[in-house]
């Protein structure tokens, strides 16, 4: 008995020691890593991103920030442009957030003299968005100067070269104000402006400032209201219908452009269940639809909230050079990182005041694996960096998406070793074994992980089985046929005999 007690005590002590060792690893982050499995359940997972630094305006040496609303990271130079909304200024800092330069006064030059301007204001008023691009050696800034009703285009030193203002064209609805919220510029220097009150899409300007029309409108949600309107329109006249509330598409909340020139848009409405994230080609068509992604759930899934119907408020989108998509969810203050095939890779952030949590996240950007998030209430910039696990997943998924399934096998095995909940790794391994021709193993990995993958592996597996056992199979079938024929003949003979006997009895009666 004492021996047992001793062993028991030793085991207990060892267990406690081990738990003490592992606990700090959890306590490091203010948020728990989790991911979703095949049942769309949230399961604990390893963190792919951890907090690197939290930087305030004072740290940058430019005084407190006030409700920073947007941010832009210039991939070419590594400069970060921050829109300090309530201070009406642009803060330009470097990649490591060490030094800062303030841009708050702009000058009219010969290129765009003050007489040509409608606004005639050298200061900003509640700037909401910024976009930076290069033309030759010049850095071009496009600032969505919201309350001045213009998109200000200037060089890095503040010389204005154009103002995009409210189109006087008849195409633009006369009732709608022009309050630019976000701005994006494509490779041909067309300017796309997100305006919160416009449901037709983004306002598109040519380089010379001509209004080109709307770009990338969302579809109208099929709600009960649409059906009701359709019903009423059967017997109401046009005048009456005009008085009814029209069902309109949900407006675009934010946008981003990737290296190939595809524009991404998000809607932040909670009751939108389509077009939450779109990837638009130059014609304004959503190419995610071609990938078979129509009603995809972005952000947290309903089971996270115990099955209550819930939709995230996706407020900002960012795409990195590898095509990874970052979505910023305003309602849960989380960042969701998807691969370019929209497989959810990591979830990080959360609500709170600790490092790495947010109270009002407004914008997300990334550069070289670092993620920058601004908080409009804490007035900070939080930077996240990839963990070793995160780098591993990124590498493996990138190989996977390039079709190098076999090469991705080892990284995926390592990922499962570190986090057996990581769903995508099983699909990766299944594909690896499938390409290697080990179909049975592939089926094991695909089971309860990927129906399509299982189907493919099973098809091959079945083919192998048929090839291997065809002779035996045919022999069995032939024997069965012979046996059945013989049995039926024998049965018929017996029946005949019986009937003859019965008939004899019948005659007798």
């Amino acid at each position: 008995m004492p021996l047992f007690k001793k062993i028991g005590a030793a085991a207990l002590a060892a267990g406690m020691a081990v738990s003490c060792l592992t606990l700090p690893a959890f306590a490091d982050e203010a948020y728990y890593g989790y991911n979703y499995n095949w049942w769309n359940e949230p399961v604990p997972s390893q963190n792919g991103y951890v907090v690197d630094r939290v930087v305030t305006g004072v740290d940058l040496g430019i005084g407190t920030l006030s409700e920073p609303n947007d941010m832009f990271v210039d991939n070419a130079t590594g400069d970060i442009y921050l829109v300090d909304t309530n201070n009406a200024r642009i803060v330009i800092t470097d990649e490591n957030l060490n030094s800062a330069k303030v841009l708050d006064t702009f000058t009219y030059t010969d290129e765009f003299p003050e007489e040509k301007s409608i606004v005639k204001n050298t200061k900003l008023d509640t700037p909401k968005g910024i976009f930076v691009t290069h033309n030759g050696g010049e850095t071009l800034l496009y600032i969505a100067d919201s309350m001045n009703s213009r998109v200000l285009a200037c060089y890095a030193d503040g010389r204005i070269f154009f103002e995009y203002t409210r189109p006087s064209n008849d195409l633009y609805d006369a009732d709608i104000s022009f309050r630019p919220d976000k701005v994006v510029v494509d490779n041909a220097f067309n300017v796309y402006v997100v305006i919160p009150s416009i449901t037709n899409g983004m306002v598109q300007f040519s380089r010379e400032g001509a209004f080109n029309g709307y770009y990338g409108a969302n579809r109208v949600e099929t709600t009960a209201e649409v059906l009701q309107n359709a019903f009423y329109s059967l017997f109401m006249n046009r005048e009456q219908m005009r008085k009814r509330a029209r069902a309109v598409a949900i407006e675009i909340a934010n946008c981003d452009i990737d290296d190939q020139g595809f524009i991404y848009t998000v809607t932040s409405s909670k009751n939108a269940d389509k077009d939450v994230l779109k990837k638009l080609n130059p014609a304004g068509e959503n190419i995610y639809l071609n990938m078979g992604i129509d009603q995809f759930m972005f952000g947290d899934l309903p089971l996270y909230y115990g099955g209550t119907s819930y939709a995230s408020t996706i407020d900002d989108v960012d795409v990195d050079s590898e095509g990874n998509v970052f979505l910023l969810d305003f309602s849960e203050k989380r960042i969701f990182q998807y691969s370019d095939q929209l497989d959810l890779e990591f979830i990080f952030g959360g609500e709170g005041s600790q490092k790495g949590l947010f109270t009002s996240p407004t914008a997300i950007e990334n550069l070289n694996g670092k993620v920058y998030v601004t908080d409009g209430r804490k007035n900070t910039i939080t930077t996240f960096k990839l963990t070793e696990f995160g780098e591993m997943v990124h590498g493996a998924v990138e190989m996977f998406n390039r079709g190098l399934y076999q090469e991705a096998k080892e990284p995926f095995e390592e990922i499962i070793l570190r986090d057996s909940n990581y769903w995508f790794a099983y699909i990766g391994l299944g594909n690896a074994y499938y390409t290697m021709g080990e179909n049975e193993k592939a089926m094991d990995y695909f089971y309860m992980n990927s129906r399509g993958g299982y189907n493919r592996a099973f098809k091959e597996y079945r083919m192998d089985m048929i090839r291997e056992y065809f002779n035996i199979f045919m022999i069995v079938v032939l024997i069965l046929i012979v046996v059945l024929v013989v049995l039926s003949k024998v049965g018929k003979m017996i029946k005949k005999k019986k009937r003859a006997a019965a008939g004899g009895d019948g005659n007798a009666v």
Binding site: M448, R451, N455, K459, R462
Partner: protein, 213 residues
């Protein structure tokens, strides 16, 4: 009249499946209502429902649940079957139907045989077919369903001695009656639950009182 109708009771369900229009008239003429056979068929129906949930191939299994629970499957097969029998009998008795409850039960069970067989084939086939060949599967299950539906109509027509329009009408009203029965059942169950809870809470209250003194 056929002369080869003297067959064992277990052969009748297969006979009516092969003779959907005359079969049930023959059942009625021969009084071949066998409750034991009918109950065995209902049991098979239940087993097939469970098997469809547990053994359908992964590619075709669309409603996967993490925790298997047999109660909903039981109520969606056996209990629905008996509610149908009770509903149909109580309705058709009021509308000059000739069938007794035992007879209604037997013919309905006999009519289920094609569906059960198609489900068995479905479960086997779903384990050897791929998604591309899924049309075969939907054909199998559709065939079984339609065949059984035709048999049910024919069975109701024969057992109550109705005309065709009256049969269809009776079936529609039976479905309505089933809904009402289910509603009342749920109501009753929740009521009894509350009574039980009440009695139980009175009991615990009393026990506390006695223990305290």
């Amino acid at each position: 009249m056929r002369f080869d109708l003297d067959m064992p009771a277990w052969k009748w369900p297969f006979y009516v499946a092969r003779h959907p229009f005359e079969g049930f008239e023959d059942v009625r003429w021969k009084k071949a209502y066998n409750s034991k056979v009918a109950l065995v068929i209902v049991l098979c129906f239940f087993i097939v429902t469970v098997a469809a949930r547990l053994m359908t191939g992964f590619v075709f299994q669309m409603n996967f649940e993490k925790v298997f629970n047999v109660v909903p499957l039981f109520s969606s097969s056996v209990i629905i079957f008996f509610i149908w029998v009770v509903g149909n009998w109580s309705l058709c008795t009021l509308f000059n139907g000739e069938g007794k409850m035992q007879q209604v039960m037997c013919v309905t069970a006999y009519a289920l045989v094609p569906y059960i067989i198609s489900q068995v084939v479905y479960i086997f086939a779903s384990n050897i077919l791929t998604r591309q060949e899924g049309t075969i599967l939907s054909f199998i299950s559709g065939l079984g369903l339609v065949w059984s539906a035709v048999l049910v109509i024919s069975a109701m027509k024969a057992v109550h001695q109705y005309t065709m329009p009256k049969t269809i009408l009776a079936i529609i009203f039976t479905l309505v009656a089933m809904v009402i029965i289910i509603l009342v059942l749920i109501l009753l169950i929740s009521l009894f639950q509350q009574i039980v809870m009440f009695v139980y809470s009175v009991y615990t209250e009393l026990m506390y009182r006695f223990n305290m003194s």
